[in-house]
Symmetry: C2
Subunit: 478 residues, 2 copies
C-alpha cells in the first residue's frame, strides 16, 4: 500500500514506528482506506467526511498502548473506532492523525457464568456476545437498535441503551470494570486491578467517568461486564390513542400501578402512516395521534398476569388494543414498531431520513407538548417527520425526511435540528439520551451544561495534557 | 458558646466570617460539640475520636459555597457530614478544620411523581423520603441497613446499597443529577443544568465521578433521584444447607433458572446460633453451615409463581425449607435475618461486635472458600465471628466479637481485619462493597487499585488543588 497524505505531523519516522508496532499489513495510508475511515453513520459525516492520515488495526492492549505513547510523544491525534455505527461523528478524525481500529480486538476472553460476568475485548459485537451467552441462560441487557453491528466498546464509550432501558437500565449499569490505555499510553484497570467482584465502592469509580466519555479520556482494551439471566418469555400490549395526552396519561397510570414493563415504545401518527404504507395489512388504526407498545417479561404465568394487569390499566385511555402472551403473536405485534426505522423514509417520495435532533429526551410529562412542538418546527421549515422512541424514558427519535437534492430542505433541516435541540433543553430535557455528543452536538453543550463544562474540560486536560485522544469532540478543546 | 481550641489555621477572622455566613448560633467551637462531631459509627473513631476545630450547620447551597470559598482562601480543611452512620471514619476531621453539618439541609424539594423523580437536599433521611413517596406508590430503592437514620447525601457520597441491590442495584443507579459545591466554592449542576430527563449521555457524567467519592471532590447540596414503583407484594423462601458449597450451588441454580430474587441473604452457622440464643423459639435448624433467605417481589400472583419456582430450584440442595407469600408469615421468616446484627454480639459473653473487615465482596463462586478462610483467620487469632451478607452480590458482613477490655483481643482483631481485607483481594474481590473507604480502608487502596490510584490522585488534585475537602481519606493526599 502506498503511503500518501502524510502531513508534517506524521513524518516517516512515525509511520515506520507504527509499522514496527502493528506490522506493515495493519498500517494503512492509502486513499481508499482513508475514505473508509472518514465517516460513521451520522448525517454530518455523510455530508462532510473527515479522513485520518493513517489507520492502524489493533489486536492487543500492548499495541494500543505503544501507539498512544508514540502519538503522545509526537502530539499526534488518535481516534479510537469500533464499528462506526455511531450517529454523531464521534469515531472520525477532526485534524488528520491516527485512526485506531479496534474492531478486530473482538475476543470473548471469558464467560464466567458462575459469577454472572463476561470479560471481553472492546471490538466484540453486541449480538455476538449475546449469542455466546445463550447456552448459559445469560445475556448482556443493553439493546441499541444497531445491536447486530455495534461493538460493545462503542456502546460503553457512548453509554448506549435501547428500548429496554426503562426496565434494565443503560450500558453503564453493566460495566463492572475495564482495562484502559490512558492518553499517556499507561495502562490501568478500574474497579480493582484483579477484581471480579459484582459490587464495589473502593476508590473513585473511574470506569463511570470513562463510560460515555466517547474515547476522549482513554481507550478501553478490555471490559468486565455484568450479565443477567435471560427472561423466560415476553408479552405485548399494543394500543392507540386519539390524543397524545391520553398516551402520556396511560404511561403514568402504568407506572402508578406498580407494573414495570420491559419496554414502552411510542410511534406518532406519521410513523403509523409510514408503517401502513410499507405493509398495508398490518393491524394498526390510522385515526390516532399515537400508538404505544408495551412489553413485559418474566416466567410464562407471570407474563400472562402482567399482560392482564396492563390491559386493565390502559383500557380507559385507548381506542384500539391488541395483546398477546404467545411468542408468535408477540412477534407480529412488535412488527409495527420494528418497521418504523425502515419505513419512515416513505413519508416523502424519494425521501431521505436524516439522523439529526434524533435523540432528545424530555421528562415524561412533557412528551405530548414536545411531540406537538417538534411537528410545529417541522411545519415551519416545510419538512415532514415521524417521531418514535422510548416513551418510558422520555427519549424520542425524530426522523425528518428530506430530498437531498433540494437545497432549501438541506438548509432547513439543519435549522430544524438546531431548534429541536434547543426545544429539548427548554422542555427540561437533554439533547441526547443514548446516541452521544461527538461532533454534531458539541455546539449545544455549553447551553446544556453551563459551568459544569469547565469541570469536564479540566478533567480532560488532566488526563490528556497534549489533547491527543479524539480531540474536537464533545465541546472539549480541539 | 465559648470559642476554644482555635488553632493557628483557624484565626478569629475565619470564625468571624463563619458567623457572618451561618449566623452565630450555627457556628460551634465548644468542647462538647467538638466531641459530638469527632466520631461516626466506625470502630476506628470509637477508639480514636478526631475533633474538628469548628462545626457549622448549613441550611443552604449559598452557605455551603461561601464556607468552602473561605476555607479554600485560607486553606482550611472542610469535612462534610450527614448523619454519621458510616463505618469508615469518612465523616470526621483528620487535621482540625471545619466540620460542615448537612443534616439540617433536609427538605424534600419536589416529588415529581409524573416524571418518576424527586429533588431533595442531601440531609433527607432515606426512610423519610420513602415515607413521603408512599402516597404516590413510589420509592427510592437503595436500602442500607441504616435506612432509618442515614442521610441520602451520605448514601450518594458512599454509593450505598443494601440487601436488594441484587435486583435493584445501588445508589448510583438512582442519581440523575446533582447540584455540587466544588472545592473552590463554585456551584455546578451535573447531568444538565436544568434537566429533568430520565436518561442522558450528554457530556462526561460528573455525577458518576462524584458518587462514591466520599466528599473529597465536592459537597452535594441538591440531588435529583430516580424513583421506582412500589412492589405490590413479596414472598420468602428460607432454607438451610449442611455444607456451604451447597448454598453456593443453590444460588447459581436460582440465577440459571432465570429467576431474579429481590434479595438473597446468607447467614453462617454462628449467626444462626446467635439468633437462636436471642430467640430460641425461632424456626431455624442448628445442624447447618449456612442459611439462605430468598425474597421475590411483584404482584401477588407473580410472587406466588416465583416462590413456587424458587422452591423447586433450591429443594435438591437443602435440608430444611420454609416459604410463604403471605405478608405476616414473610415477616416472620425475615426475622431470622433481621436479628443477626443485634444478636451476633451474644456469641461471646460480654462481647462487643467490631465493625472492621465487615464489607468485603468476592465473586459468588468463591464465597464458600472465603467464608471458610475467614473462620480460619478468626481461629488463628482466637476470635469468634459470625458472617452474614448479600450473597447474590458476594458481599459479606463479618462480625468479629471481642471483649474490649482484653488487650490481646484488641490487638488481634486489628490483625484479623487486615487479613480479611487481604483475603478479599486474593479471592479476586474488593475490600468494600457498600460501606466505603474513608480512613479505615485507605491503607489497602494501593494494593487493590495499583496504577489507577495515580489517576484518582490526579483528579483530586485538579478539582481540589489546595486539598481542602475531606483530606486524608481514601488514600488521597493528607
Amino acid at each position: 500500500m502506498k503511503d500518501t497524505m502524510i502531513s508534517s505531523l506524521l513524518d516517516d519516522k512515525v509511520i515506520t514506528r507504527l509499522k514496527e508496532i502493528f506490522g506493515a499489513d495493519r498500517v494503512m495510508t492509502g486513499k481508499t482506506d482513508m475514505i473508509t475511515y472518514s465517516y460513521d453513520a451520522s448525517f454530518e459525516t455523510q455530508l462532510h467526511p473527515r479522513e485520518p492520515e493513517v489507520a492502524v488495526i489493533a489486536l492487543s492492549t500492548e499495541e494500543v498502548s505503544e501507539c498512544v505513547k508514540l502519538a503522545n510523544d509526537y502530539q499526534i491525534p488518535v481516534y479510537p473506532r469500533g464499528a462506526a455505527t455511531g450517529q454523531t461523528g464521534g469515531a472520525v478524525s477532526t485534524k488528520g492523525g491516527i485512526m485506531i481500529d479496534l474492531s478486530k480486538m473482538n475476543r470473548i476472553v471469558e464467560i464466567d457464568y458462575k459469577n454472572m460476568q463476561a470479560i471481553i475485548e472492546p471490538g466484540v459485537v453486541q449480538n455476538d456476545l449475546n449469542e455466546a451467552l445463550k447456552p448459559y441462560g445469560l445475556r448482556f441487557p443493553p439493546d441499541p437498535g444497531s445491536a447486530n453491528m455495534c461493538t460493545i466498546g462503542g456502546m460503553v464509550a457512548n453509554n448506549s441503551s435501547g428500548l429496554r432501558a426503562v426496565k434494565y437500565g443503560v450500558t453503564r449499569h453493566y460495566v463492572l470494570g475495564m482495562e484502559v490505555v490512558l492518553p499517556t499510553g499507561e495502562v490501568i484497570v478500574t474497579g480493582g486491578a484483579k477484581s471480579k467482584a459484582l459490587k464495589s465502592v473502593s476508590g473513585y469509580d473511574l470506569a463511570h467517568l470513562l463510560i460515555g466519555s466517547e474515547g476522549t479520556l482513554g481507550i478501553m482494551t478490555r471490559l468486565r461486564l455484568k450479565l443477567l439471566p435471560l427472561p423466560v418469555t415476553r408479552g405485548i400490549v399494543l394500543c392507540s390513542f386519539e390524543q397524545l395526552e391520553q398516551a402520556g396519561e396511560a404511561v403514568n397510570a402504568v407506572f402508578s400501578s406498580g407494573l414495570q414493563p420491559s419496554a414502552i415504545e411510542i410511534m406518532d401518527f406519521n410513523c403509523t402512516k409510514a408503517v401502513k404504507m410499507m405493509k398495508p395489512e398490518i393491524d394498526l388504526p390510522l385515526d390516532c395521534e399515537a400508538v404505544l407498545v408495551f412489553e413485559v417479561d418474566g416466567a410464562k404465568e407471570e407474563v400472562t398476569s402482567q399482560v392482564n394487569r396492563l390491559k386493565k390499566v390502559v383500557e380507559p385511555y385507548t381506542n384500539f388494543l391488541r395483546f398477546s402472551d404467545e411468542p408468535d403473536e408477540c412477534e407480529q405485534l412488535w412488527q409495527a414498531r420494528k418497521l418504523v426505522g425502515a419505513s419512515v423514509g416513505l413519508l416523502k417520495p424519494g425521501g431521505f431520513r436524516v439522523y439529526g435532533g434524533e435523540d432528545i429526551c424530555v421528562p415524561i410529562s412533557r412528551l405530548p407538548e414536545t411531540l406537538r412542538a417538534i411537528h410545529n418546527i417541522a411545519e415551519k421549515y416545510g419538512i415532514v417527520c415521524g417521531i418514535y422512541g422510548h416513551v418510558g424514558d422520555g427519549n424520542m427519535h425524530t426522523g425528518p425526511v428530506i430530498n437531498r437534492n433540494n437545497e432549501l430542505e438541506m438548509t432547513n433541516v439543519q435549522k430544524m435540528i438546531d431548534d429541536i435541540h434547543e426545544l429539548a433543553i427548554e422542555m427540561e430535557g437533554t439533547t441526547t439520551a443514548e446516541h452521544g455528543v461527538g461532533l454534531v452536538r458539541a455546539k449545544y453543550m455549553d447551553l446544556e451544561h453551563g459551568a459544569a463544562m469547565d469541570v469536564m474540560r479540566a478533567i480532560k486536560k488532566t488526563l490528556d495534557p497534549n489533547n491527543i485522544l479524539n480531540p474536537g469532540k464533545m465541546a472539549l478543546p480541539n
